[in-house]
């Protein structure tokens, strides 16, 4: 390996006959006391196999002839790499100077920032096979298995360990990548590592996929870990909910809007009707009473009051109706009714019957909490729970400063997929405010964000700018690539390669490293049940039923198409209540088996008959 061609203090070309270069590989250039460089572009070239569109080319017959006379033309192949120096040299590199693969200890401080017990082992650093082979510390071996062609293979490279403690200086993580790019797996790996270190984490899971109780299939046993004690799943409305009294009017509007869209009239009405410190009961009875008053109408109420027919209770009630009508003049009956419907639906979901006590408890127990729910309710809940937890943490920290004794509340991490829904660019959402606040201020209080999205272009700019570490997976959309280019230090070559990254490969651009690292994310230790292909599931689902059905029919064959009635009762008994068949659907089923080649249909003097094939 040696430097060839024209060099600059920043860039050189290295060529080799034996070694094939890999992108992102580190090389030592033996000039000016040893310079470290990184391969940014690779090329391969055989001067005897030129790309000649109009001239002659070497056909396969000639190549095999050459091999027979003892000459392998492939040996003439030359690999060329464009190498960027990590630090600019004092003067241009000497052309012709030798280049070699570095030893592990020469680049250790570039590759390893912390030990695996203090950091998140996210995967392996690409292009470091040879460096690792030169003697990697024992504690860094066998940390991360990776998937290659759907097979789990051992770690050959240097592991990538994210120094969690550096988050204090460079807070917040972003994970960007299109669908199928490995983004969700990346998020899962980080969450697993957070659980390994018992970092309190709250995960909003709109996809219902964050479950860590199932091991990844065929994972080597020494790599497996049981996370079942480290996380809990809460469903909004089932185990956790909101305290109605704590809601702001905006929260309430958002919540009502999550059930069915709110018109401007309705929003106005809610704003008018809601009073501070309202409980569910006080608010709902106010709305209900208003609706009832509107139904009766001003005149009828006044008449009833004047008539003297009302007893004491009723009189008070009617008086109240009148006051309500007076107070809320602008509200129509239909509006009040629409609000009632939405409010009841929220109530029925159980949202107001629970609190976030379980969440607080779990955070204090250093657990990972997965919160599930329909997207819109989840957002409102997230805004509620985050404000609450963040406030508690802030109070505790600020209290310490003021030397007040407060309940200790631990630092924690907030994670979510589809983050562009939680903090969208350009418009408001329930959660945007609190996420922005954590993005800007969270570092002070030890509250960190872990935001995954497939549309970084749609994520709020202020938030994006605060993500000091970004994992970038395959991205195809040009607007997203443009955003990534702006927000990271990815080189133009790396940005260009973004649409072609393999699933599970990512660039990690981090202020902690100061340069972009290409990483292959490790295989996850656990798996989501969602990863089963729905079409496989469909096949499985029906195959079993079909087999059962066919076995039943087999004993009854041959069957005459026109006299199937006699087997129907027995069949329906066997199938169970939900799957009762009628005569026509039985015929259809029989024809289906004929089509599949399991049965054959024959014409006989008694009409068509079904027989077993073969």
């Amino acid at each position: 390996m040696q430097v060839v061609g024209i060099t600059t203090p920043r860039e050189v070309f290295v060529c080799s006959k034996e070694k094939k270069f890999r992108k992102k590989e580190l090389l030592v250039i033996e000039d000016q006391n040893g310079l470290l460089g990184e391969v940014v572009e690779t090329q391969c070239y055989n001067r005897y196999l030129p790309l000649a569109l109009n001239d002659s080319f070497v056909d396969a017959g000639v190549l095999s002839g050459l091999r027979s006379v003892g000459y392998n033309i492939d040996d003439e192949e030359i690999s060329v790499a464009k190498v960027c120096l990590l630090e600019e040299a004092a003067y241009p590199v000497n052309t012709g100077c030798l280049v070699r693969t570095p030893l592990f200890n020469e680049v250790e401080n570039l590759l390893i920032q912390t030990n695996p017990t203090n950091g998140l082992v996210l995967g392996v650093i690409k292009g470091t096979e040879e460096v690792a082979a030169s003697g990697i510390n024992k504690e860094l071996q066998n940390l991360a298995y990776v998937l290659e062609n759907k097979k789990i293979v051992e770690q050959k490279e240097v592991p990538f360990i994210f120094p969690l403690k550096d988050m204090q200086q460079y807070p917040h993580l972003g994970i960007f990548g299109g669908s199928g790019s490995g983004k969700s797996f990346g998020l899962r790996v980080i969450l697993e590592e957070l659980m390994k270190l018992s970092i309190p984490t709250i995960v909003f899971d709109p996809h219902f996929e964050m479950d860590f109780s199932h091991n990844f299939p065929e994972l080597p046993s020494e790599f497996c870990k049981d996370f079942r004690q480290s996380f809990t799943i809460f469903q909004v409305g089932k185990e956790v909910g909101v305290n109605f009294e704590d809601l702001s009017v905006r929260d309430l509007c958002n919540l009502l809007g999550s059930v069915g869209s709110l018109s401007e009239h309705m929003t106005n009405a809610v704003q008018m009707l809601y009073k501070k410190k309202d409980s569910y009961l006080s608010f709902s009875s106010r709305v209900n009473d208003l609706a009832a008053a509107l139904e009766k109408g001003n005149n009828r109420i006044e008449k009833a009051l004047a008539s003297g027919e009302l007893n004491g209770n009723e009189y008070g009630q009617y008086q109240r109706y009148l006051d309500l009508l007076e107070d809320y003049k602008g509200i129509q009956m239909s509006t009040a009714n629409a609000i009632i419907i939405r409010l009841r639906s929220l109530y029925n979901s159980g949202l107001f019957n629970h609190s976030i006590r379980l969440v607080e408890e779990a955070i204090k127990n250093r657990k990972l909490i997965v919160i599930r729910g329909p997207v819109r309710i989840l957002q409102v809940f997230a805004s509620y729970v985050l404000s609450n937890l963040y406030y508690q943490r802030r109070e505790y920290r600020d209290g310490l400063l003021r030397q007040e004794m407060k309940d200790p509340f631990p630092p924690f991490v907030v994670a979510t997929d589809e983050a562009h829904n939680f903090a969208p660019r350009g418009y408001d959402s329930a959660t945007k405010g609190i996420i922005k606040e954590i993005a800007q201020e969270g570092r002070k209080y030890g509250v960190f964000l872990l935001l995954a999205t497939q549309r970084p272009a749609l994520l709020d700019e202020t938030t994006t700018a605060q993500l000091n570490t970004k994992l970038v997976f395959r991205t195809v959309r040009s607007t997203d690539i443009a955003t990534i280019k702006e927000e990271t230090d990815l080189s133009p070559e790396e940005a260009k390669s973004l649409p072609y990254l393999r699933s599970g490969d990512a660039f990690i651009s981090s202020a902690i490293w100061g340069r972009t690292v290409a990483v292959r994310i490790r295989v996850t230790k656990t798996t989501s049940l969602h990863t089963q292909n729905p079409f496989d599931e469909l096949e499985q689902m029906y195959q079993l039923e079909e087999e059962e059905f066919f076995n039943f029919l087999q004993d009854k064959l041959p069957l005459c198409r026109d006299s199937l009635l006699h087997i129907l009762p027995e069949l329906n008994k066997q199938l169970g209540q939900n799957k009762t068949l009628e005569i026509n659907s039985l015929r259809e089923k029989l024809d289906y088996f004929v089509q599949k080649g399991k049965l054959k249909k024959e014409s006989t003097p008694f009409g068509e008959t079904y027989h077993l094939c073969g």
Partner: protein, 332 residues
């Protein structure tokens, strides 16, 4: 102005076109088929089709030994006597990756060399420019023979391929050539010359009156263009140069023929040798065995190389004063 220039050119070139067409495509001219018949009947030319060799056949032929390609290259800076310098390089490269390279240079800027050239010009009554060319090609041939000889001594080979006709070496450096031939015979190695540009005119004179008048001064390449099918070869039984047999063949899709020459004594091995060289020739190429192209590529003294070598090894004032042509300094 520009239109007039172009029009004048058009007139001149269309006249030329007409003249050449009359000569080469004239109605009295024989067709390729007729020429083929003549070659067969009058000169007893032997036509056959070349065979692609299999791996086993090649290994049988080589007997574990290799194939060697010999080629040379020269490049000159400066043009007119005595202000020039020519560099020579010759390479013998075997398919088992052994190589022998030799370099040499020639320039009348050295006093002795200049005196020798002047004396030769006086003696042969030839202009210095002629002597200059002669010396260059002689030195190159000598250098090529030198590496060929060394290759025979140090490498195990069964076939030695030269770029260019063999008789040229005999003519230019008879002693070296004889020495080489003796060693080749001893080692049972067959030398073959591959002639890419057939510039000879043997066939038309041999056929003489039997050709129509307009074809009697045809060169071999004119006569043979399009005459052979792809993969076809013919051998003339006559020794066109004493001691050497010549065959013409069309190994690729290109309709132009190339030629081999080899010592007449090796006639028995011709079929195998030609089949091997045919196997090693790209079928869509210009018809040269690939090994010679590889050797040629490696030995070539390119202008870039020459430039670099001279600039880094000769004193700049020397280069500018004596060798660099004024016209090299043109701006446009």
């Amino acid at each position: 102005m520009w239109e007039e220039v172009i029009a004048a050119w058009q007139e001149k070139l269309s006249f030329l076109n007409k003249q050449i067409l009359e000569k080469y495509e004239g109605k009295d001219n024989f067709s390729a088929l007729q020429v083929r018949d003549l070659l067969k009947k009058e000169l007893n030319a032997d036509f056959w089709i070349l065979q692609q060799m299999s791996q086993g056949e090649i290994e049988d032929f080589l007997q574990g030994r290799s194939l060697i390609g010999i080629d040379g290259s020269m490049n000159t800076v400066g043009t007119t006597f005595p202000h020039y310098l020519t560099l020579f390089q010759a390479l013998a490269k075997s398919t088992s990756k052994e190589e022998i390279v030799e370099q040499d240079f020639h320039t009348p800027l050295l006093r002795e060399e200049r005196a020798r050239m002047v004396a030769q010009a006086m003696e042969e009554e030839m202009p210095l420019g002629f002597i200059q060319d002669q010396i260059k090609s002689l030195r190159l041939a000598q250098l090529e023979l030198k590496v060929a000889h060394q290759a025979l001594q140090s490498m195990e080979c069964s076939l030695l391929v030269f770029d260019g006709p063999l008789w040229r070496y005999e003519k230019k450096a008879p002693e070296l050539w004889e020495e080489f031939c003796n060693l080749a015979q001893e080692k049972e190695v067959c030398p073959v010359g591959v002639i890419e540009e057939v510039s000879s005119a043997y066939l038309a004179p041999l056929l003489g009156e039997r050709l129509p008048g307009s074809m009697q001064d045809f060169y071999d390449r004119d006569l043979l263009f399009g005459l052979l099918k792809q993969g076809e070869i013919f051998l003339l039984p006559q020794e066109l140069k004493e001691g050497y047999l010549t065959c013409y063949l069309r190994p690729s899709s290109d309709p132009q023929v190339i030629a081999f020459d080899f010592p007449a004594a090796q006639k028995g091995r011709l079929k195998l040798i030609s089949n091997l060289l045919y196997t090693l020739t790209p079928k869509e190429g210009r018809g040269i065995p690939i090994w010679l192209d590889i050797v040629d590529n490696q030995v070539r003294i390119t202008h870039q190389l020459m430039d670099g070598l001279l600039k880094s090894n000769l004193a700049p004032e020397l280069l500018n004063k004596l060798l660099l042509a004024q016209r090299k300094k043109r701006m446009y």
